[in-house]
């Protein structure tokens, strides 16, 4: 049990009073920022990056990040339960039942099951990371350039075909990210690419600037153009708590959610959207009283919330062992590693054992602090949701500017930030998902390095990219991912008609589909008043209609 002794030494690192204080500050800041409307976990980390610039030692800095990471995620769930219409795709599903529970006066129970479920899933997930990481590293050190390149291509493909979004738009977003990643000096030949002679661009555009630009500035500009005149109603809540019955109904969904979320997080599957959705459907099928779904069933909060956190923990496996981010949040974390000149990858565990095990131990500690802090503080976080919107978005731009300027003390970075903010605005306007772009910026240059290395080894022979069994397997998976929708459209459709179809793209369509599933076993007349405060429909079915093909849906085709 080498991993466990290492983990215990990690606790020795994390449990010093200073590091404990950093973890505490991280959780507090992460939750406080993450709970603000419109700020997801990736933006939370990107905005809070500058506060670690002053910390020279990476260990306490990453201990703080561990707190920010989980804090930011929990903050997002609080927002979606108390405010509905979540800004971030991973908590879309939580909002469906969570907000209905809150409307029925059970906000405290919804928040409690979310917090405790996150704790359970996060703890099991982190334990799995600690146990799995050394094994994956043993595998990963044997991977050569062609294998790593194949995995990155898989990540690119997976991130562009996220459930519920249009593929061509996802791909466009990825290419925008890859283009931004090209800017700067080519590491091998010293040639300047896309810099147009601007010296500040020679080092490339800092990933932090890209992330803050796309998330924070893009979001602020987008909201400015569409600010809700009468702010959505916040449901007041007391101290988060649950009764005996709620515990009885929650613990199984927590464990099932963990089981669904972790593997999805550990492979490049396009984030937590798909697993949280699967968890929701599964809980509905397994619930003793499925008719409660759609009216605030606690299982519908417990399951997806646990899934969300387990998937975030699972995402740490490829991040730490391969340097491969599977979500936007992980991409920003990777950028944070780079700030300290640390390269996540197979050698990280060997070169920086104190950092890795300290980080994992802090994830446990951060999780525990989160629980202790958030159950009693729920009413206070709810108050943060009342912050006047002009101050909120002015504050986002204010801190985005400080952060971007502080990277290099250069106004060029601020101009780049604004340009990328405009790009982020356009992407939101035209339904291009932001996540593929962030993944493209950070993974693009790495993929290029691996590809050139592989071709150098094979002396230019293109077969050098495919000459290992591992790479071939990955390409086979990619082929299935790419070809599946075509097969679905032309072949499988003849044999069955799905009961539920995903109309259009984006989180909205996902919510509609989930609600459709929630509504099914009931007569139409009892359909509740709909999502109050939610964004209005943007028109009828549109876009490429992708379909969800779950066998269980098909069994009673009408």
């Amino acid at each position: 049990m080498g991993a466990l002794t290492e983990l215990i030494s990690g606790f020795a690192t994390a449990l010093t009073p200073t590091n404990l204080l950093y973890a505490f500050i991280g959780v507090l800041l992460g939750t406080a920022i993450g709970v603000l409307p419109g700020i997801g976990p990736a933006m939370t980390i990107a905005l809070l990056l500058p506060i670690t610039y002053g910390i020279d030692d990476p260990v306490p800095a990453f201990i703080m990040f561990a707190g920010i990471y989980y804090g930011g995620m929990y903050g997002g769930s609080t927002t979606s339960i108390l405010l509905n219409t979540p800004g971030e795709s991973a908590s879309v599903v939580t909002a469906i039942e969570g907000n209905k529970m809150a409307k029925r006066g059970r906000a405290a129970q919804a928040l409690a099951t979310a917090a405790i479920g996150s704790f359970v899933a996060g703890t099991i997930g982190t334990l799995l990371v600690a146990l799995l990481a050394p094994a994956v590293v043993r595998l990963a050190v044997q991977l050569g350039a062609p294998d790593l390149f194949a995995i990155m291509v898989l990540a690119f493909v997976a991130v562009t075909s996220v459930l519920g979004s249009s593929r061509v738009r996802g791909f466009a977003s990825l290419l925008l990210g890859l283009t931004i990643g090209l800017i700067g000096i080519d590491g091998v030949t010293g040639q300047q690419r896309l810099t147009y002679g601007i010296p500040q661009l020679a080092d490339g555009i800092d990933v932090v600037v890209v992330a803050v630009g796309l998330f924070a500035v893009g979001e602020a500009l987008w909201v400015a153009a569409h600010l809700r005149r009468n702010a959505a109603g916040v449901i007041p809540t007391g101290r988060a708590r649950m009764g005996r019955e709620d515990w009885g109904r929650s613990w199984k969904p927590w464990l099932r959610g963990t089981a669904v979320g972790f593997p999805f997080g550990a492979v490049p599957a396009g984030g937590a959207e798909l697993p949280t959705f699967l968890s929701y459907v599964m809980e509905k099928r397994l619930a003793k009283r499925p008719e409660e779904f759609g009216h605030g069933a606690i299982e519908g909060v417990a399951g997806p919330e646990a899934t969300n956190n387990a998937s975030a923990a699972g995402g740490l496996v490829p991040l730490l062992t391969l340097g491969l981010p599977t979500t936007a949040t992980a991409a920003v974390l990777l950028a944070a590693f780079e700030q300290y000149g640390i390269q996540p990858g197979p050698l990280l565990l060997e070169n920086e054992p104190e950092l890795v095990w300290g980080l994992l131990a802090s994830l446990f500690i951060g999780n525990a602090i989160l629980l202790v802090l958030n159950l009693p503080l729920a009413p206070m976080w709810a108050k943060l949701l009342h912050i006047p919107r002009p101050y909120l978005y002015a504050g986002i731009l204010f801190f985005a500017s400080v952060g971007a300027y502080a990277v290099n003390a250069s106004t060029v970075d601020l101009m780049v930030l604004y340009a990328i903010g405009l790009l982020g605005f356009a992407m939101r306007r035209f339904g291009l998902p932001v996540m593929p772009a962030v993944i493209g910026v950070i993974l693009g240059p790495r993929a290029e390095v691996q590809m050139r290395r592989a071709l150098q080894i094979s002396d230019g022979e293109i077969g050098g990219l495919f000459n290992t069994p591992f790479a071939l397997t990955v390409y086979a998976i990619i082929a299935i991912l790419v070809l599946w929708p075509l097969a679905d459209r032309f072949v499988l459709r003849r044999f069955r008609r799905p009961r539920h179809e995903l109309h259009g793209s984006g989180p909205h369509a996902l919510v509609e589909l989930a609600e459709e599933i929630a509504e099914e076993d009931r007569p139409k007349a009892t359909v509740p008043g709909g999502r109050s405060g939610a964004g209005p429909d943007t028109g009828g079915p549109s876009g490429e209609a992708s379909k969800l093909s779950d066998d269980r849906h098909q069994r009673e085709t009408p």
């Binding site: 030949t189 002015a394 204010f398 903010g421 339904g431 291009l432 209609a545």
Partner: protein, 168 residues
């Protein structure tokens, strides 16, 4: 199935995105054409390969996106807690917000962060409809001076102090 968009105006603005992607692709290709592998190249693949692929894929994606838009496909504008898509875009707010952001860029190294940051915050709050002409500037100044101290004293990162040098 793909549904037809009845409102043509909406569909057409998205063609602008396709045009942007195509133009960007051409830019990347032109830039790549100007690269020389040179003597420093190691390995068979030079600095050109990836930009050429990315540029070409940008053009292809632009065509596919345009085709999708013309067939009635439409990207769904992103929703959110504070986003109300039932109104038309408020361009005035967006322009004011941009002005405040650019003002900070122009001012930060001339008059210093404590003032430029306050201008940024106040300008943004004004752009977003806040009209508290006493409370807003007070919050703005408190934030900008506060962050200046936090960064300079707490984190050891110097933000430009500008004309307030000696006072702070």
């Amino acid at each position: 199935m793909i549904s037809r968009v009845t409102r043509w105006g909406k569909g057409r603005s998205e063609l602008g995105m396709a045009l942007f992607l195509a133009a960007l692709g051409v830019f990347v290709l032109v830039d790549a054409a100007g690269l020389q592998a040179g003597l420093s190249q190691r390995g068979p693949v030079g600095p050109k390969a990836v930009p050429v692929v990315v540029g070409a894929l940008l053009v292809v994606t632009a065509v596919l996106l345009a085709r999708d838009v013309l067939r009635g496909g439409r990207g769904e504008p992103e929703g959110g807690e504070d986003v109300d898509l039932s109104h038309r875009s408020d361009w005035r707010a967006m322009l004011l917000l941009s002005a405040a952001f650019l003002a900070n860029i122009a001012l930060i190294e001339r008059v210093g962060w404590p003032i430029s940051g306050a201008v940024l915050f106040f300008g943004c709050a004004y752009a977003l409809g806040s009209r508290h002409f006493v409370r807003d500037p007070v919050i703005a100044l408190a934030l900008s001076i506060g962050t200046w101290y936090l960064f300079a004293v707490g984190l050891g990162i110097g933000l430009p102090v500008g004309i307030l040098k000696g006072i702070l």
